[in-house]
């Protein structure tokens, strides 16, 4: 236990945790304690649910050395499909949500199948599916904002336990916990990470890398399906803009969280913490009335800073460096 604690103290997660706590404390002070009010906390957490999930959706494909540029398109497409089904076609809420979830999972599955069957780099495949799905999203909803769906789902989206803990945030945490258990403690999860860590070795150990890639993409789609459900539940309505700003944060969270683009790393906690940090930057912008441009600027600086720091740390831990040249590792890996 002590050894574990020691090891944890040196991890990215620990650094992130410290940053989180420091930022939170800073914001509390800056807001004269207002941030601790139930309402402020609720708002803070309410808008964490979706970022956490899209970060995880990206993390899980990064874990097999793939990437998914279609995160926003899959989520947006699923969200508007659910909205249209409920509002225009009167499909019952649970059924509509299930269909949306399945649509997103199937989109992920298709990504995986395409990568495996065509052997085209995942980067390019998901770029193409992103284009297609954006088209589909527009076709489904046009320029409308759809919001005529039952109150029940809206109250689910806005309900907060004790007025502080939004239900949707808890859903996101549950998904994160399940994903962590899956990646750490189940055989498919371990196989997925093994494929990402060393595809050749995984193959020699009887693991199908193709299967891992398909599972990862499908999982990514499924998580995005849940993100889409939460979006439908908590937004004033859904339109073609949903998902438009998911791509960059989806990379920012796992990368700040310590994920390796080459695959093999499962950083659920790191991703969640990184989403918190990005959210704090947002809150700070509102608190100090900064232009939104500053958020991008700060997030960019934080990502750059954290990777550089992370690199310095691993460099130091490494007993030797073979060559002092950058690693030419390329995203898109297993394909």
């Amino acid at each position: 236990m002590k050894r574990f604690a020691l090891r944890f103290a040196r991890t990215t997660e620990m650094t992130l945790l410290v940053i989180c706590v420091a930022m939170f404390a800073g914001l509390v002070i800056a807001s004269n304690g207002d941030l601790l009010s139930a309402n402020s906390l609720r708002v803070l957490l309410q808008f964490l649910a979706v970022p956490v999930l899209i970060g995880l959706a990206q993390m899980v494909v990064l874990a097999v050395g793939q990437l998914n540029l279609a995160v926003g398109a899959i989520g947006g497409f699923a969200a508007v499909s659910m909205g249209v089904l409920m509002a225009d076609h009167g499909v019952p809420v649970p059924l509509a949500l299930l269909i949306g979830f399945l649509l997103a999972s199937v989109a992920g599955l298709l990504n995986g199948l395409l990568v495996v069957l065509t052997r085209i780099n995942g980067f390019i495949v998901t770029l193409a599916t992103m284009t297609v799905l954006l088209g589909v999203q527009y076709r489904v909803v046009g320029t409308r904002t759809v919001d005529g769906y039952p109150q029940s789902i809206k109250s689910f989206g806005s309900y907060a336990v004790f007025g502080i803990l939004p239900l949707i945030f808890l859903v996101a945490l549950v998904v994160a916990a399940l994903l962590a258990v899956m990646l750490r403690r189940t055989v498919p999860g371990r196989q997925l990470l093994a494929s990402g860590g060393n595809p050749i070795a995984a193959r020699l150990s009887g693991i199908s890398n193709d299967r891992s890639v398909i599972i990862a993409h499908t999982l990514s789609g499924a998580i995005l399906g849940i993100a889409a459900i939460l979006t439908v539940a908590s937004s004033p309505g859904v339109n073609k803009s949903i998902g438009g700003d998911w791509l960059l944060p989806s990379f920012a969270a796992p990368i700040i969280g310590g994920a390796l683009l080459t695959g093999g790393s499962a950083v659920v906690l790191g991703t969640v913490l990184a989403a918190f940090i990005v959210r704090f930057v947002d809150t700070a912008r509102a608190e100090f009335s900064l232009e939104p441009s500053w958020v991008n600027f700060v997030v960019g600086a934080v990502v750059l800073g954290s990777v550089v720091l992370g690199q310095v740390r691993t460099r130091r831990q490494e007993r030797r460096t073979v060559v002092k040249a950058p690693d030419a590792a390329v995203a898109g890996g297993v394909s």
Binding site: T145, T231, D282, E287
Partner: protein, 344 residues
């Protein structure tokens, strides 16, 4: 249940068109002779609810003015390069009259010049080029600065002439946004310090979630100070109406456009006012003018003239009647333009 702007605007289009059509073809000061050689293209910047009335009005233009053909093409996808390509492709296919919402106000004059050089009739619709010149034959657009000014005035009225307000808007690096910010500032300056403004929140029109989050954060951090919110972009308007309603804070929201959601907000009192624009009038009067110019029947007395297509403050009081006002404005626009024309 589909609600939203499409539907409500459809109604508008259907309702107003009959009157306008008669005004244009028979009762108007200029009688359009033969426009069968005119092929009209209405080209918005990209997909946006604001432009949906154009689609139906375009069809109306075709029948009312007996045009050779009309098309409505939104594949510009908010990229000036793509929009130029769309315009060129349409020109190559024989379209010779263009009503264009330029994606980039600072670039669109170049596009207009190209089209003019090739002898086409060009109108700048719903947005005017940045700067002092307009290279199109005319510009028929909401005066965004005036609209923002009106919206702010409405906000100030709603909050009782005193207090702090905040302005939510779209893409910061767009000259129209800059004009909106100026309009808001002007109205606030006129209160001599009674009303103060928090820093403008820009760049939240890209998508609904960003707008929603920005509104929620704003309300959480500054909710108690804020008396009113004035919005001059679509997604922030929807998000602010919703956010204020669910936060139960006594904040007055002034929205933009007549989205069904916003209209119902006005009726229920959740939204204090909204500033609607006149997309139907733009497409209808614009189409009529382009038919006259495209058939070479008329020319503009002063090329590049800029006309405000009108903006209308809608409150609970006039929510049921504002459309009449808008139709009147459309008819008036036609008269105004008639005096600007030299016709054979």
């Amino acid at each position: 249940a589909t609600g939203c702007s499409t539907k409500s605007s459809n109604d508008t289009a259907g309702g107003s068109s009959g009157n306008d059509a008669s005004a244009g073809t028979s009762g108007g000061p200029v009688t359009l002779k033969d426009a069968s050689k005119v092929k009209l293209a209405l080209i918005p910047g990209g997909a946006h609810p604001y432009f949906q009335p154009w689609k139906t009005t375009a069809e109306l233009d075709k029948t009312d003015f007996k045009l050779g053909d009309v098309t409505f093409n939104e594949t510009g996808e908010w990229d000036q390069g793509k929009q130029n390509n769309v315009i060129n492709s349409l020109a190559a296919q024989g379209y010779n009259a263009f009503g264009i919402f330029g994606v980039s106000p600072t670039d669109i004059n170049s596009t207009f010049e190209d089209l003019k050089a090739k002898g086409f009739a060009v109108g700048s619709l719903a947005s005017c080029p940045a700067g002092d010149t307009n290279s199109a034959d005319f510009c028929l657009s909401t005066d965004v600065e005036a609209a923002a000014y009106k919206a702010t005035k409405a906000t100030i009225d709603a909050i009782g002439g005193e207090g702090t307000i905040v302005h939510l808007t779209g893409n910061n690096v767009d000259s129209n946004t800059q004009r909106r910010i100026a309009g808001v500032k002007k109205a606030i300056a006129e209160t001599n310090g009674k009303v103060t403004e928090l820093p403008v929140i820009t760049d939240i029109d890209k998508d609904l979630q960003t707008a929603q989050k920005a509104v929620a954060d704003l309300l959480a951090s500054k909710g108690k100070e804020i008396k009113g919110i004035v919005t001059t972009a679509y997604n922030p308007a929807v998000a602010a109406a919703d956010g204020v309603a669910s936060s139960k804070l006594p904040i007055k929201v002034v929205a933009i456009d007549d989205d069904a959601k916003i209209l119902s907000g006005i009726k229920s009192g959740g939204v204090a006012a909204t500033v609607t624009q006149n997309p139907v009038g733009q497409a209808y009067v614009g189409g009529w003018l382009l038919a006259l110019l495209g058939s070479k029947q008329c020319t503009m007395k002063t090329p590049g003239v800029i006309v405000d297509s009108g903006s209308f403050v809608v409150t609970k009081a006039n929510v049921d009647s504002y459309d009449t006002e808008r139709k009147a404005k459309t008819a008036e626009l036609q008269k105004e333009f008639a005096s600007q024309l030299t016709c054979q």
